[in-house]
């Protein structure tokens, strides 16, 4: 367990006109993150993801709760936590008139690394993140993807055990995003634990080993993407038929691989709820063909993380 938190809380006081309001941004977060995994924090904007991340990265002090990060106590020893983690903010961290190399050397030196070693590390990071070509140009000349890679290189220049990335792909085009995913997977290969926040379902699904879904300051679900999807819903096979719906219903309802069968409202087809769509599909085809029922169409729908989110919160993440 590289991160373990219990009851982490934070509220903010804000003033609207004369009225003072207390906003509970994070209301008791319990988390466990395993060493060497990519852990994703999924939720809509304003769910409390960034606040939680900033607490874990020692940037804001929690109101309550306890947390151990890379073996150090967050509340009692934030200085030690700071030395063991890296943090990459959402909004970027580079100065327009500095070059990537200067930024990397300075950042390494701020962590107490000597001048020569800092220069070597910067050179290595520039190579690893495919930035060597632009290393001595000013940051303001970089593309969004390049600048984001500099941000991440800055976050890990001191070789932390764990790195926090706040929405690392927000605002990137699809190609840069795919590139960024590769960079993040590479960090895991190097033995680093990666903790990311995202509001992209595809990202959480494709990139993360485990995820926690956050909404209104609370964690509403935690697990691997597959576990979460399986937990809330079956795969659904929709079979389109020409008139032989009752026969097909009789054949498939109660079959070992089907959990539940429904007739479509239109009357020309069936909806089958199955545990594993990939293996159930050929069985459905075989069963119908053997009994002379012709299919018009067949379609498999697997639940997405959005279905998980919908089930857990009553809202769709995509609506936001």
């Amino acid at each position: 367990m590289i991160i373990e938190t219990s009851g982490l809380r934070k509220s903010f006081r804000s003033r609207q006109g004369k009225e003072k309001k207390t906003v509970e941004a994070v209301r008791g977060v319990d988390l466990r993150v395993n060493e060497g995994e990519i852990f994703g924090f999924l939720g809509p904007n304003g769910a409390g993801k960034t606040t939680t991340l900033r607490m874990l990265a020692t940037l804001i002090v929690p109101d309550g709760g306890v947390a151990t990060i890379a073996g150090a106590d967050l509340l009692r020893n934030p200085g030690e936590v700071r030395r063991r983690i890296g943090y990459v903010a959402q909004g970027g961290s580079t100065w327009d008139d500095s070059t990537a190399r200067e930024e990397l050397v300075l950042q390494a030196r701020l962590y107490g690394i000597g001048k020569k070693a800092a220069q070597e590390r910067a050179a290595r990071a520039l190579d690893a993140f495919h930035l060597a070509e632009y290393a001595d140009r000013k940051c303001k000349t970089y593309s969004g993807g390049q600048r984001r890679r500099v941000d991440i290189a800055l976050g890990i220049i001191h070789e932390p055990k764990i790195v926090f990335l706040d929405e690392p792909t927000t605002g990137l085009d699809p190609q840069s995003r795919a590139h960024m995913w590769d960079e993040i997977r590479r960090l895991r290969t190097e033995g680093m634990t990666v903790f990311i926040t995202t509001h992209y379902l595809e990202e959480a699904d494709a990139l993360c080993d485990r995820i926690a879904i956050m909404d209104h300051g609370e964690i509403v679900a935690e697990g691997t993407p597959t576990e979460l999807k399986r937990e809330i819903a079956h795969d659904v096979i929709t079979v389109g038929l020409n008139g032989s719906t009752p026969e097909a219903f009789a054949l498939l309802d109660g079959a070992a691989f089907v959990a539940r069968t429904e007739k479509l409202d239109s009357g020309d087809g069936l909806r089958l709820f199955v545990d594993d769509g990939a293996t159930a599909m050929p069985q459905v085809l075989r069963e119908l063909e053997r009994n002379g029922v012709t299919l018009k169409s067949i379609e498999l729908h697997r639940p997405s993380l959005d279905d998980v989110f919908l089930t857990k919160t009553g809202r769709s993440l995509r609506e936001k």
Binding site: A89, T94, Q107, Y111
Partner: protein
């Protein structure tokens, strides 16, 4: 040791960036030079009741005031740069490292002191062409006064910038502070002209002591009580300002 090392890191980066964009040094000098060229010539007749009879004497009264003005304003507006750095995420990036929080402040304020002294040097040299003459030892003491003022005002500006976090709030705030400070310090015209009540109010403005002290130094009157009094008052205020700003840095940064 760590503090000194961290301060050096921050300071040298800031100087490096300043040198990359040296135009700002000259933008800073532009206004004072305009005063020197376009306002100071009015002073000889205006100051004649005080016994000023030559250009050199007029500049000896005006240049020290101008330099103190430059130090006050130059310092007070440094907070804008910090807000830009906050917005770019540079400050947050420093905050997650174990860097000394005090060094983040002092490294930047020292950059401001250096840039002020360079500007003051340029203006002093220009004033030499107008027959201003000042002993080097006195000048160095006057620069010490200016350096302390710049350190104080830039620290205050950084502290306020951290608290308000927006240019829109910082600009009117700094202007509101700077204007009465300017008018009550006898920078443009000596307060000898002031009616009694105004002179009485100005006695409570520490910068009027600083201006008097600096003027005495430019007049070669290093033994004047106003010199050590001005330096002492400014030094105490600088310590307080730096202490307060350091607390703001430490609090918002932990």
């Amino acid at each position: 040791m760590k503090f000194l090392r961290d301060t050096w890191l921050i300071f040298s980066r800031q100087i490096q960036l300043l040198l990359r964009n040296p135009v700002w040094v000259f933008v800073g000098v532009f206004q004072p030079v305009m005063y020197l060229l376009l306002f100071a010539p009015l002073l000889k007749p205006a100051l004649s009741p005080l016994g000023v009879q030559t250009d050199a004497e007029a500049y000896r009264v005006f240049v020290p005031g101008l330099l103190v003005l430059l130090a006050i304003f130059g310092g007070l507006f440094q907070g804008f740069g910090l807000i830009a750095e906050l917005r770019a995420g540079v400050i947050e990036r420093s905050r997650v490292t174990p860097v000394s929080r005090f060094a983040l402040l002092i490294g930047r304020s020292l950059r401001d002191v250096v840039s002020l002294i360079v500007q003051a040097g340029i203006i002093t040299i220009l004033a030499l062409f107008f027959d201003l003459r000042v002993f080097i030892g006195d000048l160095l003491l006057a620069y010490l006064m200016l350096a302390l003022i710049a350190l104080m005002t830039s620290a205050v500006s950084y502290g306020v910038a951290l608290a308000v976090k927006s240019e829109d709030a910082l600009a009117p705030l700094m202007n509101t502070v700077a204007q009465p400070v300017l008018l009550l310090s006898g920078i443009l015209l000596p307060l000898q002209f002031a009616p009694g009540w105004l002179e009485g109010v100005a006695k409570w403005n520490p910068f009027s002591w600083a201006v008097d002290g600096t003027r005495a130094l430019f007049a070669g009157d290093v033994g004047n009580d106003r010199v050590w009094q001005g330096l002492l008052i400014v030094a105490v205020l600088t310590v307080l300002a730096v202490w307060w700003a350091a607390r703001e840095f430490a609090r918002s940064v932990r």
